[in-house]
């Protein structure tokens, strides 16, 4: 917790957990439609999280939302458009802005680049790397793409059948894999 106390997540009340999700935590869904409100404007999607933590000044909320759209490379004149008119990559970037606007300290990302065109994927990865570094966030990323894992992560955990089978420095797990399943994974990467 922000006050330096360790708490058991499952001992928290629902109200406390809800606050945690809106302040210190972020969650980037694989399918942006699960993490956005598709029929309200892009600006409102970003602003909603600010209002949830007490933002009430419309001008300030809009200014912050505009700033964040810029940071995720969405042009400011799209602020009043609904995400359903956005491409997959733009939706994913909007979802990231919506999550990061309240300055979370821990972000969960479930296949953040899954299903995106590789050119869009490169842009998103670059953006994530930059933001995570700049804001000093902690992030837990779920991915099937080992190249994404190498690019984004410091440490890596390999899971199979619901269990952690290997963990360590990302470059060591990929370059010197120990477990049979990890060796199979790494040896199955296609070279471009």
């Amino acid at each position: 917790m922000r006050d330096g106390q360790w708490r058991d997540l499952y001992d928290l009340s629902e109200a406390e957990r809800r606050l945690l999700m809106r302040t210190d935590w972020g969650f980037v869904h694989q399918n942006p439609a699960d993490g956005l409100r598709m029929s309200v404007s892009a600006g409102a999607n970003v602003g909603e999280r600010l209002m949830a933590v007490g933002g009430r000044h419309y001008g300030q909320i809009r200014a912050t939302a505009t700033d964040w759209l810029g940071r995720v490379e969405i042009s400011a004149d799209r602020i009043d458009d609904q995400p359903r008119s956005f491409s997959g990559g733009m939706r994913q970037r909007l979802q990231i802005a919506r999550n990061l606007v309240t300055g979370p300290r821990l972000v969960f990302m479930d296949e953040p680049t899954g299903g995106l065109d590789v050119s869009v994927q490169a842009r998103l990865l670059d953006l994530l790397r930059g933001l995570v570094g700049e804001l000093g966030l902690s992030a837990i990323v779920v991915t099937h793409d080992l190249a994404v894992a190498r690019l984004l992560s410091h440490r890596m955990v390999v899971m199979k059948d619901g269990r952690v089978i290997e963990s360590g420095l990302t470059d060591r797990v990929l370059d010197d894999p120990r477990e049979p399943y990890t060796q199979l994974l790494v040896s199955s990467i296609l070279q471009v």
């Binding site: 570094g133 690019l151 410091h154 440490r155 420095l169 060591r172 370059d175 477990e179 049979p180 060796q183």
Partner: protein, 233 residues
């Protein structure tokens, strides 16, 4: 003073996809590198030179032995360090110039080179200035600086890689064939950069196949064939 001490290190690869075949790579690797010294690993291809460098950087795990280095003023064993400690060591103590540059899409050459300094807490503008100086020194054409290195030639990528490794003041610098794809003029620049690192008291451990460069930079050559695992044992 020794900056790096490798003691009785051994490495095997277990190939689970080949029925658990165990390939011994090297054994009983012991040597030390002092501040201001450049030690070169010698021997034919496949003898385990790169594996030794990768173990010293923490990229490969080790099966036995210790890799002692002075980190934040204290002796620490990289071989048994946890991942976060190794990341710390890489951030402040130990740098590595790999054989090939692993490029990141959309990141410019300047920022690729500046990144290790920025990670270490240097202001971005300052780190970029230092990156420009190094790229200029290595004769990388200025028009390339703002481009991502993915499309660069082998020699150009290697110079970006060298600049990235040399930009910090880490006390230990590992070099895996940094001059392999460079022309004579740029090889001479790298030799001069290595001499400057030695003068600063950096401990260098490297692999150089180029005889001429090796003669110019090496204070000592370690024959890696003497660490060949004894198959009979």
């Amino acid at each position: 003073m020794d900056m790096l001490q490798v003691e009785n290190v051994a490495k095997n690869f277990t190939m689970h996809l080949r029925g658990g075949l165990v390939l011994p790579i090297i054994a009983k690797v012991s040597f030390a590198v002092a501040a201001g010294e450049c030690v070169v690993l010698g021997g034919p291809s496949g003898v385990g030179k790169s594996s030794i460098l990768k173990m010293v950087y923490g990229n490969y795990g080790v099966d036995a032995g210790k890799i002692m280095l002075i980190h934040n003023g204290q002796m620490a064993d990289l071989a048994s360090a946890d991942p976060r400690q190794i990341l710390q060591m890489r951030a402040t103590t130990i740098a590595y110039v790999s054989q090939f540059l692993r490029t990141v899409p959309r990141v410019s050459a300047i920022d690729v080179v500046a990144e290790p300094l920025v990670t270490g807490g240097t202001e971005k503008a300052k780190a970029q200035d230092r990156a420009r100086q190094l790229l200029a020194r290595l004769n990388l054409p200025e028009r390339l600086w703002s481009l991502p290195p993915a499309t660069f030639s082998g020699g150009e990528q290697q110079r970006v890689n060298i600049a990235r490794g040399f930009i910090t003041d880490h006390k230990i610098l590992l070099l895996d064939e940094p001059t392999a794809s460079l022309d004579a003029k740029n090889r001479a620049v790298v030799v001069a950069l290595i001499a400057a690192k030695k003068a600063q008291g950096t401990a260098l451990l490297g692999i150089f196949h180029d005889e001429e460069v090796r003669q110019q930079v090496a204070d000592r050559i370690i024959d890696v064939t003497r660490f060949a695992p004894d198959l009979a044992a």
